[in-house]
Symmetry: C2
């Protein structure tokens, strides 16, 4: 008899964005004339940079000619892209990451969801609360947790409290843990970690033979001097940290699909006897067995995003979203709402003074604006709201006009 | 301490194609002037159909304009593609598969590798021998097997013997098993299953509360009347079978990346109490948690492959490879070598009369042609060779001229 994976039944209710979609659909059915503005899901709205479009078109044409057609690409990504990434994303920040430590994928969601396959089923996972749900759900599905309590927290996970007191940047846990998921600039709070804070995490991982999974998908939004862009800016990180990056928010690739992860040669796990095992060997095996690379035209588009022209276009794109975020934050602050994020992040996170879903429904029904209830990211998000700056300037301004009317 | 997944260390030596690549590289280093012809890996060589290139280019341009830009697509694929698939790949064959039973992905390798996540860790897996290595390796990595014996066979797997006696089409096992991986037209043998043979499998799955994972990636190569193209041509299959398809071999998408799987609404697994659980619900949860859809331009290109124009172009492409396969088989048969495949498959499979790797090395060194050693697909492949028809006519003819010289 074919038994289903029993861990799937532990997963809490609906995935956050599915629940939002259902409520939005119900509202639209009731008010078909409403012109909804979406500042909920973190999806970009501006077109791809011209350099990327040109590269996509050129590579598409190449696929139609016998001399330039490409079949299976290298499992870990084309050298042209891995080299461009090493040079632009790491060498410029003084990080010693070589192209063969970079693994191209179809996005950071897949990579952060898949990476837990490298770990023993007994690995103790530490996650921030609030958190991007994929880190938790992928481990629940793999059987690394018990059941969920009423709070939504799973037995067996070490939760890292993020709150206004610590500026939503958790310190390493006192409870034992083997792997910590960190994300800076953070989704959902928009908080960034300082060099000292990240150094404390690297020290924790080195001391405890633990591993850091560092999600830097929003790195392109960092504008303040002194904020680390990569975990590898911290000495000693290469042994204890894997980093995830994405072209989704940097270059508008949410519908084009490209990301990568960095697994340094010296990054290690341990076998049952306590001997070191290079994680890179395991990840190579995983990717060559279960993945077949990213479309050639998409890899060419990602390469173009890293050209001089592409970098300038991406910066303009990100600048536009950052300016939107600043507008959102300044409008909310007028009403005494203290905001996190916005400065180095497309997200604005604030305490809405009531239940998250109550505020969500109020804004949906009365302002016809979609935001994200903070409680969907964890119990510490209760009473918080995340507003995304991914929209046109005009829509952001109109949405904030409407929201301000409600705030009174 | 972060422990590695201990199951990775059970995996046998090198992945077949990595070992071939290493031997080819060594040969090239010794004989730099050799003009190698590759009939090894199953990678297409002809350019994408014109309809697909046009669709890729058009969609790329759409991504560059604000009015037509697309961000995150639906997790399970755009409706335009799911509808085109339901109509062209199933309705035409009399199969009742609706668009919402179709899940678009970046390829059948990923889907066949990922689908085992739906099963309990105790599920007993049945695989043919010889077999496409991904089915086995993904289950080894998930801990569903013991160690490998000297033969390369893993403890805990039910092996389905495929040999000349049964025409490389195995009957359902007498040993208990919960899931069977089947692939027709087969990779590596090129064998196809008759309606009666598939009906026996569906009957087995229904009787034993088991599941069939049916890989139909080579469906487009079927030319003989009466050979089923889909497992859903067999009555009762929707409850007990998941089907995997790909645009890789049909439309030359190995470097463009698109496939899909079919998980019918009534397809079931069972919980620990023996109650039915719809596999579709689990797969939706898996995909929405760990996958973010396929690039929009790629989905448009796949849709174009299913248009009237695209279908004609794909057929011409596949016809060309089939004609190559017929040449390979007829040339080998001149030397008394009995071939399987070629008729409804791009692969030709034959007993080479010596050790597989010995023949591989002989052909590589003396004919400068790359083939695939059958033993790489399992112990029943020992002494066999797979030749792939994926190359230009000219190269296939020259390769066979060279091989015939060796055969004498």
């Amino acid at each position: 008899m074919i038994r289903a994976n029993p861990n799937y039944s532990k997963i809490q209710a609906n995935y956050l964005f599915a629940e939002i979609a259902a409520r939005v659909k119900a509202c639209q059915a009731e008010k078909p004339s409403a012109r909804l503005i979406r500042l909920g899901i973190g999806d970009v709205t501006q077109p791809l940079p011209a350099a990327c479009v040109e590269a996509l078109e050129r590579a598409s044409a190449e696929m139609g000619a016998a001399e330039t057609f490409r079949g299976y690409g290298p499992d870990y990504g084309y050298a042209f892209l891995r080299e461009a990434i090493a040079k632009n994303d790491f060498e410029t920040r003084g990080c010693d990451i070589s192209p063969d430590e970079i693994f191209v994928s179809d996005g950071a969601k897949c990579d952060t969801g898949n990476f837990q396959e490298m770990f023993d089923s007994s690995a103790r996972i530490a996650v921030p609360d609030p958190v991007y749900p994929v880190y938790v759900d992928s481990n629940v599905m793999a059987g690394r947790t018990g059941a969920a309590a009423k709070s939504g927290r799973y037995e067996g996970i070490v939760y890292l409290e993020c709150n206004e007191e610590n500026g939503f940047v958790p310190a390493p846990p006192k409870t034992p843990a083997d792997v910590a998921y960190l994300c800076f600039p953070n989704n959902p709070t928009g908080a960034v970690a300082s060099r000292e804070q990240l150094a404390a995490w690297v020290e924790w991982a080195r001391t405890n033979d633990a591993l850091i999974l560092f999600d830097a998908a929003y790195e392109a939004f960092i504008r303040e001097e002194g904020v680390p862009h990569s975990i590898y800016e911290i000495p000693g990180a290469k042994e204890v940290a894997v980093e995830f990056r994405s072209f989704s928010k940097t270059a508008g690739f949410t519908g084009t699909r490209c990301g990568y992860c960095v697994v340094p040669a010296q990054c290690r796990a341990f076998d049952s006897a306590g001997a070191r095992i290079p994680l890179q060997t395991l990840w190579k095996r995983r990717q060559s067995t279960k993945f077949n690379g990213v479309a050639y035209p998409v890899q060419r588009a990602a390469e173009a995003a890293l050209s001089a022209e592409g970098r300038a276009q991406c910066k303009a794109l990100v600048d536009g979203y950052l300016a939107n975020a600043a507008i959102v934050a300044s409008r909310l602050e007028r009403h005494g709402l203290k905001c996190t994020g916005a400065k180095n992040s497309p997200y604005v996170w604030f305490d809405c003074g009531m239940d998250s879903w109550e505020f969500f429904d109020k804004v949906l029904r009365n302002a016809e604006v979609v935001v994200t209830p903070g409680v969907g990211f964890g119990s510490n998000g209760a009473g918080f709201i995340r507003i995304s700056a991914f929209n046109s300037r005009e829509n952001v301004e109109e949405a904030m006009d409407r929201i301000e009317k409600i705030l009174g």
